[in-house]
């Protein structure tokens, strides 16, 4: 039993910090410290710097451009970026579609798409959810019909995050309507410029434009844009969703937010004392920190198991904790940040938009905190809602 990082791992952490200090633009960092999502330009600029360093895709195997890190190094890297904060490598490219192409794609698909994913020459988005297929994803209705030398896709996707930035979309569509619902689905790569695709924004409750509806109206897709085998797209989807589990803990991001919360609570007066001296508020912060520490150790256990059981495919019950606890903590901290702002959290406006606080009606730090709180309610819904997570646990680990 050795519960500490090795000297090499600590040295690696320092290497990542040094890289962040040297390369991450301060404007990006300050933008993110203020609680805003990085802009498309910021994400692209940063992804290219990571790519130049060979760090664009921590999870990818070395022969496809990954850095060949151990699970512990991957964790350290992810955490340091979140704590800085700096944008993470673009999830759609690096954690979602890229690994599917590496696992199931043809040599041609790999050569064509992977280098452009690494360098963010193409921004990808995810075409999974549909109006009638949310938690029950396999109930999707979008159809792909083979017609000579191409497929023709018709249907509608929804909750498509950042489709407005995207050059490509990976799509689950039904190719055999007669088969059982998981068995007639295929995984397609679709150029967003193809005629017949319409993107319509969905404005979420905080006023931001993050998600979209994407309509497919006789969209022609070349035959070689199907990944893996026809009607075996569900395997790709399961593989993709299985890769998400580490990402959702976001320990570094929560630590950065708690740090921010403490600075704010120290500087904000509550009666004749700083807010941080209110025992009730402080206790609520402490509760978050304690669960976060436990989550951090849980992530370590999952990583250690990963190293040990590489390839056995045996799930670790601790993995199911990551999504539920990770999102509960992030949501909890976002609520405390909003509380800290008091009435000044109420100024309406998209927290990501520039210049909306031009009349200085609220302190800069307070502006948009309610928006982040409202927006982050999504976390316990997406990626398999927390209730779906409990269903999975009951079946996979509890034998119920």
């Amino acid at each position: 039993m050795e519960l500490r990082f090795t000297d090499e791992e600590r040295a690696f952490r320092q290497e990542v910090r040094d890289f962040l200090a040297a390369e991450c633009p301060d404007a990006t960092r300050q933008h993110m410290i203020a609680g805003k999502s990085p802009t498309k330009e910021m994400v692209v600029e940063w992804q290219r710097k990571l790519n130049k360093r060979g760090w664009a895709a921590p999870e990818w195997p070395k022969d496809h451009g990954g850095p060949g890190w151990t699970p512990a190094q991957k964790y350290i890297f992810r955490e340091e970026l979140q704590m800085w904060p700096a944008p993470s490598p673009l999830g759609f490219n690096i954690n979602m579609c890229g690994p599917v192409i590496i696992e199931f794609g043809t040599p041609e698909q790999k050569a064509r798409f992977l280098p452009r994913m690494l360098n963010l020459d193409d921004w990808w988005c995810q075409g999974f959810s549909e109006p009638g297929a949310g938690s029950d994803l396999a109930g999707l209705k979008t159809r792909a019909v083979r017609d000579g030398d191409h497929w023709v896709i018709n249907g509608q996707k929804t909750w498509t995050t950042l489709a407005q930035h995207a050059d490509w979309i990976f799509v689950l569509a039904r190719t055999d309507p007669a088969a059982k619902k998981q068995e007639g689905i295929s995984f397609f790569l679709v150029d967003m410029k193809t005629p017949g695709i319409t993107v319509r924004p969905i404005v979420t409750i905080e006023g931001g434009h993050e998600v979209n509806e994407v309509f497919f109206d006789d969209v022609k897709v070349p035959l070689d844009h199907l990944v893996g085998q026809e009607n075996k797209g569900w395997d790709c989807a399961k593989f993709l969703l299985g890769n998400e589990r580490f990402g959702q803990a976001r320990v570094g991001a929560s630590r950065e937010r708690i740090r921010r919360l403490k600075i704010i609570a120290r500087e904000t007066m509550d009666g004749d004392r700083p807010l941080i001296e209110d025992p009730e508020f402080r206790r609520q912060m402490t509760e978050m920190e304690i669960e976060l520490k436990a989550l951090e150790m849980t992530v370590m256990r999952v990583i250690a198991n990963e190293t040990k059981r590489a390839g056995t495919g045996k799930p670790d019950p601790a993995t199911s904790v990551l999504k539920i606890k990770g999102t509960e903590i992030q949501q909890g901290v976002s609520e405390l940040l909003m509380k800290a702002a008091g009435p000044y959290a109420w100024v309406d406006g998209d927290p990501d938009a520039e210049g909306t606080n031009e009349w200085d009606v609220a302190p800069d730090w307070a502006f948009g905190l309610a928006g982040v709180y409202f927006n982050w309610r999504k976390q316990s819904i997406y990626g398999g809602s927390n209730e779906i997570q409990r269903n999975i646990m009951a079946k996979a680990f509890l034998g119920l």
Binding site: M1, E2, L3, R4, F5, A72, R255, I258, R259, K262, I263, R266, P279, R282, R283, M285, T286, E287, E289, I290, E291, L292, K293, A294, L295, E296, M297, T298, M300, R301, I303, A304, N305, K308, P317, A318, S320, V321, I324, K325, E387, Q389, R390, N391, M393, A394, F397, L398, G399, L400
Partner: protein, 381 residues
Amino acid sequence: MDFDLNESQGMLQDSVRKLLSDKYGFENRKAYLASETGWSRDLWAQYADLGLLGLPFDEEDGGFGGGGEEVMIVAEQMGRHITLEPWLSTVVLGGGFLRHGAAADLRADMVAGVAGGGVLLAFAQQERQSRYDLHDVATTAKKDGASWVITGRKGMVLHGDTADHFIVTARISGNRRDKGGIGVFLVPAKAEGVAVRGFRQVDGSRAAEVEFSDARAEHALGTPEDGLALVDKVVDEAIAALAAEAIGAMDVVHAMTLDYMKTRQQFGKPIGSFQALQHKAADMLVAIEQSRSMAYFATMAARDPDAAERRRNMHAVKAQIGRSQRLVGQEAIQLHGGIAMTMEYAAGHYFKRLTVNEASFGDTDFHLRSLSDLGGLVQAA
């Protein structure tokens, strides 16, 4: 990062597991509980044979040189059987004071007896007014030649009714709640002026009210007048052991609950098929896994040479596991239904031990408040 046991740790775990599976079924436990001492002298001798009583002591003192991991392994197995023997009080608490506070000659005198099973120890610190503050000490110690004279009343002394020696906190100087001026003393139970009244706690453990009236202590442990640092250190090690005990008990009562959910039929199907109940069982698993993580963290944090950092981390451990064990205990009863309310059924006994464990050396509220008063875990830069 490696959470695996090495070969000798694996052997230790196997041997304790085997002994307790053979000798500590629920029916055995009932018999031990009903016996005169309230626990099994026979098993105590077998713990000694297995090396569990000398576990944490240095080999040169006659121990087995085990560290926090070994203590955790044993405590977890004991938690699985909610054992009744005075292992925590004698080996973890008493042993901790001997290891960290006793001069070499006293250690040489005592360790062989403890490791052999012949000497039992108990930590007498609780007072009627002190609640969870280890520095709140009204009992007094006065120097008299080479020895000390102790006067005061200690309560809820775990396994105080069978102890051969008490490790007693007493005030040498200052006011009742001062952090300085506290000494730690070793007082033989047979010394003149020591009155012991034993009783049973709700979790089945034995305890005692101990009154010291000008009782004589020949040995002070640690630095007289600065005993609190020693007490904090030993209590933090005990908190790590309690954490592991809680994991063992939670694992068992959770498994028991799942078994029941799979077999108990209502409305023509197993109650485990109902989603409302499944989600409660899943939440128990989340709590247990988070706690298991914290129990590992506890063994690492308890040996941190930075005392302030150690205390902060142990507050976090105790608060997190405290909340989890409350949830797991309460939901285990709820998911079983009426059967778990009966004395005949094991789940309730686990619930009672978890409840006492939660409040041992400070309940969840106490540790949350303490940590939050110290500024929490995350440094604001």
